[in-house]
């Protein structure tokens, strides 16, 4: 532990510390392990907090600013907390041409939130995403780790139901 302040804060966040240490053990205490560590951390906790970034930086011997730089670079990471389920709707050409906007409107109506937001109960986050390589069956989306293709506005309820039934995010 490089800083006394971090040591003090860590005592109060023992579960986060334990998780970071477990991930560092799993992926290795090398800079090259940073993305896998951050990906798993986000999947397990739903957010990458400032303290988490400091802890990871400490364990990998990197500066917290560099870790924050990485977290904010990638669109699937980021500092904002996400809901338990993340729905990413593709907004690139082939999907747009097939009616993505109508699907988006159906999601917003069904969940009562705009894109970029999380439901107040913390269960669903709606995000736009760029091409997900499902252009042959548009409109397409990623729901957690699954791809859904040829989604019609009428099927939005089904997607949400499947996510509710699946329990926790993969």
């Amino acid at each position: 532990m490089s800083s006394p302040l971090l040591a003090t804060v860590s005592i109060e966040n023992a579960d986060l510390v334990a998780m970071v240490d477990a991930l560092v053990t799993r992926h290795g205490a090398t800079r090259g392990a940073l993305l896998p560590i951050l990906q798993d951390l986000l999947a397990e906790r739903g957010e990458i907090s400032t303290l988490a970034m400091q802890l990871v930086a400490d364990r990998l011997g990197a500066s917290p600013a560099e870790v924050q730089g990485v977290v904010t670079f990638y669109s699937f990471l980021g500092e904002a907390a996400r809901g338990r389920h993340v729905i990413r709707l593709c907004r690139t050409l082939s999907c747009m041409m097939a009616g993505t906007r109508d699907v988006a409107a159906a999601f917003e109506a069904e969940l009562g939130i705009p894109f970029g937001a999380t439901t107040p109960d913390g269960v669903f986050t709606l995000e736009w995403t760029n091409c997900i390589g499902m252009c042959c069956a548009p409109p397409a989306l990623l729901a957690d780790a699954e791809a859904f293709s040829s989604v019609s506005p009428a099927q939005v309820g089904e997607v949400i139901g499947a996510l509710r039934a699946s329990g926790v995010q993969e």
């Binding site: 800079r31 090259g32 670079f73 050409l93 082939s94 747009m96 091409c131 252009c135 069956a137």
Partner: protein, 394 residues
Amino acid sequence: MTIRTPLTLATVTPDAGLRAALERAPHEVIEEVTRSDMRGRGGAGFRTGLKWRLASEAPAPDGRRHVVCNADEGEPGTFKDRALLSVVPDLVFEGMTIGAWAIGATSGVVYLRGEYVYLRKGLEECLADRRAAGLLGSDIMGTPGFDFDIRVQLGSGSYLCGEETALLESLEGRRGEPRNRFPYPVVRGLDRAPTIVNNVETFAWVPAIMARGADWFLGIGTSASKGPKLLSISGDVARPGVYEFPFGVTIREVLTASGGENAHAVVVGGACGVCVPASDFARTISYEEASTGGAVIVLGPDRDLLDVAENFLEFFVDESCGQCTPCRVGNPVLLEGVRALKRGECTPERLGELQRLGRTMQDASKCGLGQTSPSFFLSLVDLFGPEILHRVPA
């Protein structure tokens, strides 16, 4: 998975190419790949044999060299690598293993885009099977001293990481921002060691070339574009999906096969590609005429081409890393210009400025993103002038 034509790759005898490669010296493998004249299937078209030779000749002070498979298939309209990773992952790994033998590498990585996370399990299982069969690990296929293994690492949502040096930065735990070149990755790549970075499809063709010989590959395609090519066809077509054609197929033939005869225009090469008008549908898909990593997006008669340009530029504004000024500043300016054109508020003088800006971005941007992001817009102005300019106020 919608695969619309029989795939040659599905007929390749498993591990025959690897066996053929291991019966030869590494430099002979490189010579065979070089002789096939295969060019990179990701779109840039660099010669695979030359890349491998440069990596094999680059000094590796601690003896390490790496094989990296670029499975960060982010170009809008492209999905053929997803098909290959689903249908013939073994061939991709076999091609990487042949590459490792050729350049003397001991480690391999598949950089799989985060959007394809659902493919990971199947890939890991395939790798485990290959280890169990002695096709990865130590003394591969009973070849003493040939040790090589492959791991899968996920991306996290970044188009730019498909650029090979940004991909390497990402693998090393950094922001996916392109590096300066020189040196190229073949000299200093992953962890500063000589590295070959090849596209999924490029690796998949290698076992076929080794098993059937370079002459087989040379017998398909055009004078400067050898072999078969997988295309991802989407948009206003009756039968979207993955198609295999020999290089040199015309755009019109592609449209006939996919049910897009009604097309008004075709985007060849994805968001970084160009817009081809119906009068040019006799052009061929090839490095010499209409070059592409495989994306063909068909636009029907009712599509507004400025909507397409706007969608692509929104994409580039979002995906630009902001490192260099031409790309960071240029893309938003082009986007504003396209929106002004749509509103009929773009004067001919401003349009001329936008064209000059686009050409400056092509010349002055640091990496392929900013160098190619103006291409679609510029092709639109050049080839569809009357169609988009009628909205320009006099």
